[in-house]
Amino acid sequence: MKISTRGRYGLRLLVDIAEHANEGPIALTVVAKRQDLSEKYLQQVALLLTRGGFLTSVKGSGGGYMLGLSSEEIMIYDVLDLLEGNIAFEEPPGSEENAIERVIRLHFYQKLDQEVKKVFEGLSLCEVTKAQWFTYVI
């Protein structure tokens, strides 16, 4: 499993907006410059995140994007699930799944997904922006 550009840029966009939340709506041009990302690509990702309720857009001059929920309410797992479609290692069984494939799917990939979910459960955007959260986890 690799996290796609959409997932990586989308999270960077959310982190950037969360960190500058006190500045009001933030134009994507500003985020693109700050994060050194393509503005065109950010527009596509922002649209997805807005549809998912993680961002809201403010039109007009001085407009831009703001978080759609508080950063405590935005869960990293949910954001990745939206941007990536599905962040599971387990793939649905094919019609001719054999016994070995089944064992590996059920006893390795399915459990691995549970493990990943456990690690991300309760991890909010707020904790990520606080920066030091990871030191005690690893």
């Binding site: 996290i3 982190v15 016994a99 064992v103 006893h107 390795f108 691995l112 493990e115 990943v116 690893i138």
Partner: protein, 122 residues
């Protein structure tokens, strides 16, 4: 690898292919990095074939040999790593995957296979 763990003797590519449904040609390719990593041994001759090179091989060893180290995001050569907060998320994901796959052994997976076989699962 799970199939090899269920075998007491050397296994021919043909028998591995029959059990796993992986083509012989592709199996030959898969064996190269696994041999190089010291996870399988090959023996020539009539009784030849492949077998696991050691006990307690973990899924992490197999995946690292076949696919390289697990990296959810291409952060390796990024200059922003220190300042990037999302990098921490990828590190967390990476350690979750590496830790879990280091705990699960091929032998353990093979034992589930034997169980399902005993229950008529195959």
């Amino acid at each position: 690898m799970v199939y090899l763990a269920t075998c007491r003797e050397n296994c021919s590519i043909r028998s591995i292919s029959e059990a796993t449904g992986i083509s012989s040609g592709y199996l030959e390719q898969l064996m190269i990095p696994l041999r190089r990593a010291g996870l399988v041994q090959a023996e020539r001759g009539v009784q030849g074939g492949y077998r696991l090179a050691k006990a307690d091989i973990t899924c992490k060893e197999v995946l690292a040999a076949s696919e390289g180290d697990f990296e959810p995001a291409p952060c390796k050569n990024c200059t922003r790593t220190d300042a990037c907060k999302t990098h921490q998320i990828w590190s967390l994901l990476q350690s979750a995957v590496v830790d879990f796959s280091s705990q699960v052994t091929i032998q353990e997976l093979a034992s589930h296979l034997v169980e399902s076989e005993a229950g008529g699962g195959i």
